[in-house]
């Protein structure tokens, strides 16, 4: 206790202070521990992703893999010339804007509900998140049955309240099929937004809101002027992640309508998927996949640049 301070600090302590106590000689251990994960990820994600670029430049047909010719940018040219590409791109835009927009609005309302003084909040939060953990095939199954034009419970009650007379096949009508799918996706994904935004809302300093209240701000004003700007970073990252995820999500559409009726629900990823597995044109499918990836890189890059700019400021 009363010993004089030695002229040099003991080695064990010093290494823990400004740099981690692991030294260069420990290097191999961590690469060894990291290796299995790296091998799996690079073998099954990185390598195929690079291979997709090569495939997109060939006329690969899965029925005859040996006959593979380099065709340059032919697939991309053909894709950009075809109507089905532009149609599926338009549907993709509607799908993404509808789904993410709906989830954001209702998710924000839900988050504000859960942010009130509510008993059993953790339980409720868990229960409302259940659809998000439910398989897309089951969501499709439940809604196909509920929206069944003959026996469906939805149409039955719409008729009971008088909003509908006669049969209506929501998923079989080209006008209503895509909006209906969007509603199903909003149903499934809204709680994800709520949970993310709730976490952000709970990080808003209470003093700030109380001060605003004392100064006479209405709850509405303090939400728009104080709370929303405060939670904006979370809103942004959630929206960006959700845009990418929703754009790539086609399981639900594949099962429920498979792009029909009359291609009215054909989105770009579904178009690429059927190009591969109905037309067996892997080269074209890879090209469409790459176009999809490039389009989705736009919001991600915009987000990263926004964050970097903010950090610099």
């Amino acid at each position: 206790m009363t010993r004089a301070v030695p002229p040099f600090s003991p080695p064990v302590v010093s290494t823990t202070q400004d740099r981690p106590f692991w030294r260069m000689k420990d290097l191999p251990t961590h690469w060894l521990m990291l290796a299995p994960a790296l091998i799996v990820v690079s073998g099954l994600i990185l390598y195929p992703a690079i291979n997709a670029v090569w495939l997109a430049l060939t006329d690969t047909n899965i029925l005859d893999l040996a006959d593979q010719k380099f065709v340059g940018l032919y697939n991309f040219e053909e894709a950009l010339k075809s109507d089905s590409f532009w149609l599926s791109l338009l549907h993709l835009m509607i799908w993404v804007i509808g789904c993410v927009g709906g989830q954001l609005i209702f998710g924000m309302i839900g988050a504000n509900i859960l942010n009130q003084k509510v008993r059993g909040r953790a339980m409720i939060r868990g229960v409302v998140l259940v659809p998000w953990a439910t398989a897309s095939i089951l969501v499709a199954l439940m809604w196909l049955w509920m929206l069944n034009p003959n026996f469906g419970i939805v149409n039955h009650y719409l008729r009971v309240i008088g909003l509908l007379n006669g049969p209506q096949d929501w998923l079989g009508d080209p006008m209503t099929a895509l909006p209906t799918l969007i509603l199903i996706d909003v149903w499934q994904g809204v709680a994800f937004f709520s949970v993310m935004l709730l976490a952000a809302l709970q990080s808003v300093p209470k003093e700030m809101l109380e001060a605003a209240k004392i100064d006479g701000a209405s709850p509405w004003q303090s939400f728009w002027r104080l709370t929303l700007p405060y939670i904006m970073p979370t809103v942004l990252i959630t929206v960006v992640l959700r845009v990418v995820w929703t754009a790539n999500y086609f399981d639900l559409i594949l099962v429920v309508t498979n792009g029909g009726p009359a291609n009215s629900t054909l989105t770009l990823p579904l178009h690429a998927y059927s190009t591969a597995y109905q037309d067996f044109d892997f080269g074209m499918a890879a090209a469409l996949g790459i176009i999809q990836a490039v389009i989705l890189a736009v919001p991600v890059i915009a987000y990263v640049r926004h964050v970097l700019k903010k950090e610099a400021a």
Binding site: L55, A122, I124, F151, A191
Partner: protein, 294 residues
């Protein structure tokens, strides 16, 4: 209850009226929450009710809600249906394999990324995150060729490997978050006491990250149990088909028996519900942590 001493019904009614001691004021928030919960759970309840409704009552089922002659025939049928049992076993085997491999790899990688500082750490950390953003449809075409080359098409092994790869990056991040919370001093003490680096991992980090292991295991289980597109594309016989693919085949049949298919749906959703409710707290914590910190 407090008025049981009065034998007369009328008197009981009278005594009850003037004592509204507990003011049961229902705040509108609770009304909204109840509506929300009904909206969320309604479809599941309806799926269950349909699964016990005999086919001849389907026509009036929407009007009646609860069937006249509820029966469990659909569940009996599924319990003796070879195909459904085979799909369920496939799903379970693939999920268990995925959970074991993913959790092990994520634990190793998460520990390294949390504890070691080395060249290329950031690259690995954000690289894995970026790979996660690649479109499924971009991956599926080259992956199909790769699986075919290695003879992994239509095998449970193949699905397991693919699921491990695609659940690994979120799992690693989740695990890293848990390891970050373990005080370094405990490991230092173990090191000073003569443990090797790997021993500290085995005897200090692993026991202390049990909640993280549970969260990652649940996440990868749910992912693997629910996954549809890869399973649909990479399997073409009953040897490797999982429940989602089986359900899709049932839905595709020309005359759908809604009682049977909803029963299959109920059975398929139960494992996920149980797992999710058990681990939701830590899963939600893992989900929100990254986003809220920015």
């Amino acid at each position: 209850m407090s008025t049981t001493s009065t034998p007369n019904m009328l008197a009981r009614e009278k005594t009850r009226v003037p004592q509204p001691k507990k003011k049961i004021r229902i705040r509108p928030v609770y009304l909204l929450i109840v509506l929300w919960l009904i909206g969320v759970l309604g479809p599941y309840a309806w799926m269950f009710i349909t699964s016990i409704t005999p086919p001849e009552e389907m026509v009036e089922s929407a009007a009646r809600i609860w069937p006249r002659h509820a029966n469990l025939k659909a569940y009996e049928y599924l319990a003796s249906n070879h195909k459904f049992i085979e799909y369920a076993i496939n799903s379970a085997l693939v999920a268990v394999g995925t959970v074991i491999v993913t959790t092990t790899l994520a634990l190793l990688a998460g520990t390294v990324l949390s504890r070691y500082r080395f060249k290329g750490r950031k690259f690995v950390l954000f690289g894995t995150l970026l790979l996660q953003l690649f479109p499924t449809v971009l991956m599926i075409v080259p992956l199909y060729i790769e699986m075919r080359t290695f003879g992994l098409l239509d095998t449970k092994r193949g699905l397991m490997i693919v699921y491990t790869a695609f659940s690994l990056s979120f799992s690693t991040w989740l695990m890293k978050g848990y390891v970050d919370h373990i005080p370094k001093e405990i490991e230092e003490a173990a090191l000073i006491d003569g443990c090797s680096r790997f021993q500290t991992f085995l005897y200090v980090i692993v026991p202390l990250t049990k909640p993280g292991i549970a969260a990652v295991a649940t996440f990868s289980f749910i992912y693997s149990w629910n996954e549809f597109i890869y399973a649909l594309t990479f399997t073409h016989s009953d040897v490797a088909r999982t429940i989602p693919v089986g359900l899709r085949l049932f839905i595709g049949e020309s005359s759908i028996n809604w009682q049977y298919i909803t029963a299959a749906g109920v059975l398929a959703v139960i494992p996920v519900l149980v797992g999710f409710m058990l681990a939701q707290r830590s899963l939600i914590a893992g989900l929100t942590a990254g986003a809220v910190k920015g």
